[in-house]
Subunit: 481 residues, 2 copies
Amino acid sequence: MDKDSRVQRKRSRNEDLERMRLEMRDTTASIMRLIQKRMTLSKQIGEIKSTLNMNVKDEKVEEDIMNMVLGLSDEIGMSREFSSHFLDALLAESVRLQQIQQDYKSGNVSRLLSREKSKQTHLSIFLKAKQIEASGRRILHMEVGEPDFSPPSEVRGALTESFDLKHYHYSEPAGILKLREVIAKKAGSGISEDMIAVTVGGRFAVFATIVSLLREGDEMISIEPAWPAYRECADFVGANTKALKTTMADEWIPDTKKLEEMINKRTKMIVLNYPNNPTGKILDKKILEKIVSIAKQNAIYLLSDEVYSDYSFRDFSSILHHAYKRSIMVSSFSKSHAMTGFRVGYAIADKEIISNITKVQATALTCVAEPMQYSALAALKARTSENVEMVRKRLDIISNRLQRMSLCFVKPDGAMYVYPQLNNGLQGLSLVEKLLDRGVAMAPGSGFGEAYVQFIRISACQPEDELEKGLDILESVLANG
Amino acid sequence: MDKDSRVQRKRSRNEDLERMRLEMRDTTASIMRLIQKRMTLSKQIGEIKSTLNMNVKDEKVEEDIMNMVLGLSDEIGMSREFSSHFLDALLAESVRLQQIQQDYKSGNVSRLLSREKSKQTHLSIFLKAKQIEASGRRILHMEVGEPDFSPPSEVRGALTESFDLKHYHYSEPAGILKLREVIAKKAGSGISEDMIAVTVGGRFAVFATIVSLLREGDEMISIEPAWPAYRECADFVGANTKALKTTMADEWIPDTKKLEEMINKRTKMIVLNYPNNPTGKILDKKILEKIVSIAKQNAIYLLSDEVYSDYSFRDFSSILHHAYKRSIMVSSFSKSHAMTGFRVGYAIADKEIISNITKVQATALTCVAEPMQYSALAALKARTSENVEMVRKRLDIISNRLQRMSLCFVKPDGAMYVYPQLNNGLQGLSLVEKLLDRGVAMAPGSGFGEAYVQFIRISACQPEDELEKGLDILESVLANG
């Protein structure tokens, strides 16, 4: 090709480029006009709905649109992930516009930040109780899951030793090797130290798992009643939480048929928490197997929070024994070793998942404080079976008292709570406020799922005589208002 | 209105609803087809560009489109925030599709996770050095900013005491009141304890600040060379980092004219880090004032990481003295009190910003480990001026040696590093690898910004004789290769 024709060709390419850029501008503008049209439609539909007394959100209609969008994606060769992500953004924006236009907050985190404000949970009651205590009154803490007994005595020595041995440096982001080795050994065969990340409490293990595996618009299924942290972490990345509600009548056993029906293309994770907070339920092995097989069939992650597994009063089967590559087991030293304030937990999973969890941890906070890691290592040498017996006995005491008050509940298989239903339509939240006035803090059941307004959660983290005092107050308030 | 006409009206509304829903479906489908068209165009433009040897990303063109989109938003009454967010998603998807279609990772976190893999920083060199040490060889650590001296002796007692006084429980998410009070007092007038969040190291203060204030598509300006954490945290939420590059020739002083030119509608934050890691620069007060005024004019957040402020060898002015409501000061106990492994830092800002930072911390990890908070409280009673003198002396030693090797650098005003440029086009990364072979770890300059491939960072966190040994090796490698 001679020079002239090369120059000419280049010129014509430049013209092509200019023409295509203009077309791109026009296309972008057309897309925006259509989006605006769509939003106007959505607003009008909302108005009609409100005159017809219908809900603003209609899951069936949204599901239909999503299916259409996914079908069309395949047809025109667009990535399903992008198009569902895009539709979610449209839906979210419509809802947002219909709500408070002026108070548009920044980030995905916004959903979390705005949700946190209004909700009453065991934590908000705890903070209220602390405020009352600051004014000089004593409050009995039966609202939080914080053991009243001490960490193993081995921990005391480990703290001083950590100073003398200069164990106060940056550690590997996944945690010190020794601790991971001991956790791996305890977890059983097939688990190696590179399948473990030591995290800032079980909570950061949950957080890092959810934020590294879910994205905006993904769906996570949580089995309610449930610890609110799962939903909060999903909110953090803009993922949607769908609740599979369980009932006391069904002895808190999840309906696996319903679970299967809830799963769609956007479902990315199921969260399990057994022994359960707040019900104390432990699943039969068969049910767990069924859930694992559902997850397998749909290639869904299974996050199993087993932080209460040491407090199991019947057979408990860890997710680790089900050899599922997409499962993540989370645990911590907070409950088993009464080390809540040490903030040491861990995740056990496939190497690649652990590597992502570790990267999230390295980005957010470098690593877990080294003296706390060495304290956890020392704690693992201690026997904790006495604590387990003690909690079991306390749960019996609470259960007996509640029975005498004619409250219904399912006797806990494990964990450290009883979750009774109140009679005569009494709301947990209003009871909890009355109890706080009388000097005892208990947790409102609705903190674990909006369906459970008639429940309260009573924690066994107090000595027996204190528990009795708290239950006396409960009995008196229930009898006399 | 009689019953018949009410029924009829309801029926006609239901028909309206049905019709509008169909229109909504059609509109959604049209939007998707246009998006597909846009992506095809974008791909074709990419192909032409590659034959013309042009960059895939063209900031000027993107800026033009953004301006058009914002203008159109105003015209058709769409929220500017939504439309810019939407355009960003389109651009990101186009780029993503052009890259690796099959390796589509989940979440915003994906950008972070994929970036982390390839980049060599002081941290990756540190981990390499640790691996070499595990095989039995000794490595001199002049790559990380981890003081070799001990935390104050007060901390040892605080550790044991924290066990005996049962300081191992959940604390308030913002940190124990006493510690916040002492930090507030130290920070000076106008700072109250509710303007402080105690965090898991300064790093989590940076993380929580960035993720609670920035959203996908927002822009953050970082003054390079810079600690890579800022960019990593922005990546985490999908915000874009723009680098304002400074040069050794300008004595690392940022060009405030350039800064002003970089700011657009999407700019939400400027990150300052003085005394600077890695250059040791401290800004003149006038320059800082100019930056604050630019931020004020544009209502941009100013994140000021002042973790090295105790190591200032000339006047240093904290952002707190500039009374700017959108500023966030971050610091920690890691460098000032040699407590890296304790992971205690803090943010000081307006109450509302602190409240959001605290919520992020509560969601991710509940609170900082209580024994670590009490250790920090004890550390604040200690004098640390001897450490500062020691580091200053070490920096002098390093500077003198580097001068003798004829390396160019700006003498540090503070912090604990020297950041020299290598001669004859020698690349920092290849030098660092040779040095590691010879038993000394130093940090590649490119870890702090891709423009600084010819720099290395030498850390003063070793005793003088060790520093001399490390510098002997450097001198020998530079002389003989």
